[in-house]
């Protein structure tokens, strides 16, 4: 190389180097910011619960932030019988609901994925579609259906057979039934994925060596499905111990108190018993962490079974012969009970001038009066708008943050990137009641005036929904080859440009799935919103609870129908928007 050439060559290289350094700065900046945000968001609930449980004064008092601790709250909780009753009830309720929803969900998943039952696709779609029906509406509709004295089924039974109060939904059995029905779609989703990925060749190989169906089921199919089944059972159990709607609406009259209702009661009655409430929370949190640790163990165990997969994979459906009409009818009945009944009850009640059992007279008297009166009350509009704002806003921010997290975790070599993953995933262990309570307490201390605004709800939701969104996005991030990002780096494209122009578009399917999931759940969420509710930031689900407490079931039903329709419109519209921009969603 000649000397004269050298400077000319060196210049672009230098420019490239400076571009490189600028780009790395940006990435480091983004990484550190993300880490701090996560630390802040995730540390609040964990720190606040433990801290409060060790304090004898309430958050906001000067002594709360000093370093004097006491175990008196624990002594108080452990020596009271209501703590142990709540603990026992929680386990009992969770155990029973897990079993019931598992049996129903597993049956439907098996019918849809592994048999030649007619209408299998439709049954599967209806199961998944149920997630847009708010949980509180399901609970309310079953109460309207089977509560003593006013329940539709009881009224019909009285008129037809003269029996009084045949059903009593305000009972342990009733609570288990309603909550199980609500969880069946989740069970279905958890199991249908693993039923799909089971290699039918493994069972056929067993048949070929002379094992009959029973032996094949016992020695091959069951052991192989065990990790997935165990994981599903655990997740259902954890979901139940954290659940709130059913214990809140039904537990009182059924005289059945669980941890979540105890926590809610102790924080919502005056004077608030912060210490006791946080002690209950610590117990509940410890339980869910324990279960989740086992859950992840099982999942990893299950993955080790999936290392062998064949090329000639072809799903095998069991030919049920004539029985397939039976399984079809039974599944349709279940779908009707799970998805159809709540909606029908809501619609029915919303059209009544006053509460009565169905009959010709009733149908004649139906009016839209409830809707009219709703639309003429301006107070109704606000919660609707709040839910929409919180749903869409939370979903968008969560998805962006989660996309960055999974980018750093899966596509870069930063030290500490695993930390992001763990931090974003940890909140899965925090029950909603606790999440709501701790955010409230924290901002009672912090001189930032966001209590009573949508911002505080959004912040809590950010923590709550990150873990779920992260699963969706990580899966599609892992499918994008690292070289795509590296190519952009080598070409000298600034990092943020590359992230928005290359990564996000490639991630679209995963992002969209996550966005829908978060939007729907944030829109209909009750527990956190209730804990953080003041007059201005009440959401639609909180308003429903208000109507419930006032005893205005008919208005409630009309509002429920509108809420469901609004959510449906949002889902359909954003789905269309997504399609318009070239996204075909996976779910």
């Amino acid at each position: 190389m000649s000397v004269a050439e050298a400077p000319g060559r060196a210049e672009p290289r230098e420019a490239a180097a400076s571009r490189l350094s600028r780009k790395i700065d940006w990435r480091v900046f983004a990484f550190v910011t993300l880490l701090l945000v996560l630390l802040y968001q995730v540390a609040i609930p964990f720190l606040m619960i433990v801290w409060t449980s060790l304090k004898t004064v309430r958050p906001g008092e000067p002594d709360f932030i000093t370093l004097t601790f006491s175990l008196s709250n624990y002594v108080r909780a452990f020596s009271s019988s209501s703590f142990w009753t709540a603990a026992w009830n929680t386990l009992l309720f969770a155990g029973a609901s897990t079993v019931v929803s598992f049996v129903l969900g597993a049956f439907i998943a098996w019918v849809v994925e592994r048999t030649n039952t007619p209408l299998a696709r439709f049954i599967g779609t209806m199961m998944v579609a149920r997630i847009i029906v708010p949980g509180i509406l399901i609970t309310v509709s079953w109460i309207l259906l089977a509560s003593p004295n006013i329940g539709i089924l009881n009224l019909v039974a009285r008129d037809l057979f003269g029996v009084r109060n045949f059903f009593n939904i305000y009972s342990f059995g009733g609570m288990v039934w309603v909550h199980s029905i609500e969880m069946v779609p989740l069970t279905y989703l958890l199991l249908s994925a693993s039923f799909q990925s089971m290699d039918p060749r493994l069972e056929e190989a067993s048949t070929m060596v002379g094992a009959n169906n029973w032996r094949t089921f016992r020695r091959i199919a069951m052991p192989l499905a065990m990790p997935a089944i165990g994981a599903a059972l655990l997740l259902l159990f954890v979901t139940t111990i954290e659940t709130f709607e059913v214990p809140l609406l039904m537990g009182g009259r059924a005289r059945f108190r669980v941890f979540t209702t105890e926590i809610f009661q102790t924080t919502s009655r005056t004077p608030v018993d912060w210490g006791l409430s946080s002690t209950y929370s610590v117990a509940l949190l410890a339980l869910s962490i324990l279960l989740l640790v086992i859950y992840f163990r099982l999942l990893r165990h299950g993955e080790s079974y999936q290392t062998i997969t064949g090329k000639d994979f072809r799903p095998r459906r069991i030919d049920l012969g004539r029985w397939r009409y039976f399984t079809c009818a039974l599944s349709l009945l279940l779908v009707f009970i799970i998805t159809g009944v709540p909606l029908l009850v809501m619609i029915y009640a919303s059209l009544l001038p006053n509460w009565q059992a169905p009959g010709i007279e009733t149908f004649k008297s139906m009016t839209f009066a409830n809707y009219d009166s709703l639309f003429s009350t301006p107070a109704v509009l606000m919660p609707m708008l709040n839910s929409t704002l919180v749903g869409i806003g939370t979903a968008t921010i969560v998805v962006l943050i989660v996309a960055m997290i999974s980018y750093f975790v899966h596509k870069t070599q930063f030290r500490g990137r695993r930390m992001l993953d763990y931090l974003a995933f940890a909140p899965i262990a925090i029950p909603s009641v606790i999440l709501g309570a701790t955010f409230l307490w924290f901002y009672l201390i912090l001189p930032v005036p966001i209590i009573g605004t949508l911002t505080i709800i959004g912040l809590a939701y950010l923590t709550k929904y990150m873990p779920f969104a992260l699963r969706f996005v990580s899966n599609s991030m892992m499918q994008i080859h690292r070289e795509l990002d590296e190519a952009a780096q080598v070409a000298g494209v600034p990092w943020h440009r590359n992230f928005f122009k290359v990564m996000l578009p490639l991630l679209k399917p995963g992002l969209l799935a996550a966005w829908f999931w978060v939007m729907v759940h944030a829109y209909r969420e009750l527990t956190v919103a209730l804990m953080l509710a003041r007059s201005q930031n009440r959401t639609a689900a909180v308003l429903i609870l208000d109507y419930w407490e006032q005893g205005s079931f008919l208005k409630l039903s009309a509002f429920g129908v509108i809420m469901f329709l609004a959510l449906l419109v949002i889902v359909v519209l954003s789905n269309m928007l997504g399609k318009r921009y070239g996204v075909r969603e996976q779910y």
Partner: protein, 366 residues
């Protein structure tokens, strides 16, 4: 030993009806290995799965050792676990929750054997495939070749009446495939087990089989010994599927015993008549394997009376290790030749291709 007659299988779905196989009949004699060969989707796996009992055929019958296992006319269907067959799947289907020994020993369960006997039998089977030293290894930690051996041991251990293989080598890399191919053949000759073997790889089929059955679109095209079916195919499809071949269209104009004269755009060609049904005036295809062709730079005496000669232009010649591959343009057609590796590689010159009449086959046009 195994006899399949008039087998048919139709898959019915909402949108379409797939005739996966139609009127498939063949016999497998005791101790022989018969290969079902054909392009992807031609119905090999379906045929094999019908024999195994994993698929219920819609027509036809299957007899194993003179016992009917399927007879769609008399509604006979013996379920797979009562047929006493061994099967090696394409994906091997090794049970991931068991170790190597357990995978093999499981095949002996339900026969009233003691645990110790089962273990001993399983170890013997593992020994046959040289896997005894890995008997404690968990199944997910086996390499592809090792999984394949375990799958074979598992299929062998119950002393089945016959073995069924569905593309057992297609998941292995090229080198291992060559080794395992020979080893499978050795094992089969040693044990003398009746086998049906499915593959879409023609060289594998040629190497491993006693008989080859060639399939296309769910039907049998042709069957024969490997040498015969390769050297003297009866159908154009067979000639094309089993290795490369050059085809020249034409009309049959004269017959002299086995010798046939064909007139076409490339002049008169003389070859062996493969199909005795052919009559004068029939449209035919003349097939010549690339390795049967010699190349010279001018027309001239070949020393043989009935040698064929075609003039063409050498477009490209490349060195391919054991031979020189040459593309020669003859009119519209391109002819592939495999020449000695000392051949002249200079391209863009006029050449004359010569091939003996006994290396030339006259096939019915399809």
């Amino acid at each position: 030993m195994i006899s399949v007659a008039g087998l048919g299988k139709t898959f019915q779905s909402k949108s379409e009806t797939v005739h996966a196989i139609r009127d498939v009949s063949f016999e497998v004699a005791a101790g022989e290995i018969v290969t079902l060969l054909g392009p992807s989707g031609c119905g090999k796996t379906t045929t094999l799965r019908c024999v195994a009992g994993l698929e219920k055929p819609t027509a036809g019958s299957i007899f194993i050792n003179d016992r009917p296992v399927v007879d769609s006319k008399h509604d006979v269907f013996v379920p797979p676990h009562k047929r006493n067959l061994g099967m090696v799947f394409q994906s091997y289907a090794i049970w991931p929750h068991m170790n190597v020994l357990e995978n093999v020993a499981y095949a002996l369960e339900g026969r009233g054997m003691s645990k110790a006997d089962m273990r001993a039998e399983a170890m013997r089977a593992l020994d046959t495939v040289q896997m005894a030293h890995l008997s404690d290894r968990p199944a997910p930690r086996l390499s592809g070749g090792q999984q394949q051996r375990v799958a074979i041991a598992r299929a062998l251990v119950g002393r089945p009446q016959a073995l069924l293989f569905d593309e057992p080598l297609s998941n292995l890399d090229a080198k291992l495939r060559m080794e395992m191919r020979k080893e499978l053949r050795r094992l089969q000759l040693q044990i003398g087990l009746t086998s049906i073997y499915v593959t879409h790889d023609q060289s594998e089929a040629l190497a491993i089989s006693d008989w080859i059955i060639l399939m296309k679109d769910g039907q049998i095209v042709e069957r024969g010994r490997p040498v015969d079916i390769y050297c003297r195919p009866k159908k154009v499809f067979t000639a094309q599927f089993l290795g490369a071949t050059n085809l020249f269209p034409g009309t049959l104009v004269a017959l002299d015993g086995q010798r046939a004269r064909v007139q076409g755009p490339h002049g008169d060609l003389i070859g062996v008549l493969s199909d005795p049904e052919l009559r004068i005036g029939a449209p035919v295809q003349v097939s010549v394997r690339p390795e049967a062709i010699r190349m010279a730079s001018s027309l001239g005496g070949t020393g043989q009376a009935d040698a064929n000669q075609i003039a063409g232009r050498l477009e490209l010649a490349v060195f391919a290790g054991n031979a020189v591959e040459a593309d020669v343009r003859v009119g519209e057609a391109k002819v592939l030749c495999l020449l000695d590796h000392d051949a002249d590689l200079k391209a863009d010159r006029d050449v004359v291709l010569t091939f003996a009449a006994e290396d030339t086959l006259v096939l019915a046009n399809e």
